[in-house]
């Protein structure tokens, strides 16, 4: 079973809660996905507003574990303060740490990410860093005390699927004992299956489900793909070959000439 910071997690699919057509469709999608962890964020509340409380009630009724994020933070200071506020509000020391470094690609600022991770781990946070597939950065995050790594496979919301599968393969090989969650860029269930086949421990999705024509049905499709990919990895997939290899035995073939 997947274990993250000492917690056993039944599902290898983590789901974001943003961009759904309605709260009820969000709830349906979470249930259909079987996700045991959902991501949430913090945003300004208007005076007299009750939207935050209503959303929080909805999430609590789903009975899933909460992973708050620092989405949209572009500096260490912003990310650290947001993480502290999230812990105060949500009552968890888990934090999906995002420090964004580039406006168009939403690529992580990996320098700021390592710095923020150090500060937060010192304060007792369990950090889930949203990072690139850079091995050196990943090593620094582990040195800082991260026990989980979350490399992207393509830019957030791009739905492109793994743009650099070789790098993901190296990433898995370099950190065989660290829980690795592919976060961001997955567009279709086949993408999720493909990274699970590489041996990644879990995937984190949002847009691909929320913006599907039928989010709950897509959540279910992703759940099956994640499960299929995991089983395939455990079963030991065949490596690609350059030339054809007949599957039907050649020996014993009749001769007619």
């Amino acid at each position: 079973m997947l274990s993250l910071y000492g917690e056993d997690i039944a599902s290898r699919l983590l789901l974001g809660t943003a961009q759904y057509p309605s709260p009820s469709i969000l709830a349906e999608a979470v249930r259909a996905s079987g996700a045991g962890i959902v991501t949430v964020s913090l945003r300004r509340e208007t005076a007299g507003g009750r939207t935050g409380g209503q959303f929080w009630e909805l999430i609590r009724e789903l009975g899933v574990r909460i992973l708050p994020n620092t989405a949209g933070c572009h500096s260490v200071k912003e990310a650290v303060t947001t993480a502290r506020m999230a812990r105060d509000l949500f009552g968890t020391d888990w934090i999906k740490l995002e420090v964004i470094g580039h406006h168009d690609t939403l690529q992580p600022d990996v320098f700021g990410l390592v710095e923020a991770a150090r500060i937060l781990i010192e304060e007792g946070f369990k950090v889930f860093p949203y990072t690139t597939e850079d091995l050196v950065v990943a090593g620094r995050l582990l040195e800082a005390g991260c026990e989980v790594l979350m490399p992207w496979c393509a830019p957030i919301g791009s739905a492109r699927g793994p743009v650099n599968p070789d790098a993901l393969r190296s990433f898995r090989a370099e950190f065989p004992d660290i829980p690795l969650i592919v976060d961001a860029g997955l567009g279709r269930p086949s993408h999720a299956a493909s990274v699970m086949e590489l041996g990644f421990d879990a995937v984190l999705l949002n847009t691909a489900v929320a913006k599907a024509g039928d989010p709950a049905a897509m959540a279910s499709a992703f759940a099956q793909a994640v499960e299929a990919g995991r089983r395939a990895f455990k079963a030991g997939p065949l490596e690609p070959r350059d030339m054809a290899v007949p599957s039907t035995p050649v020996i014993g073939k009749a001769v007619f000439e």
């Binding site: 943003a18 961009q19 969000l26 913090l42 300004r44 005076a47 935050g52 409380g53 303060t81």
Partner: protein, 65 residues
Amino acid sequence: MKLTVNGEEQAVSATTLAALLAELDYEPDFLATALNGELVPAIERAECALHDGDRIEILAPMQGG
């Protein structure tokens, strides 16, 4: 006293953070608060004195990816 609350200037009579939330009709159970860029934990809001020009952030749970 003039404060900047969630990026907007406001004139208020409250002198503590807890009083400010009540004055502005917030539901305190579902919020996280910061004063001048630093977290003010929920349990410290009642003792958190406000001063002219302070910047307050009042955040709530929201959908996220």
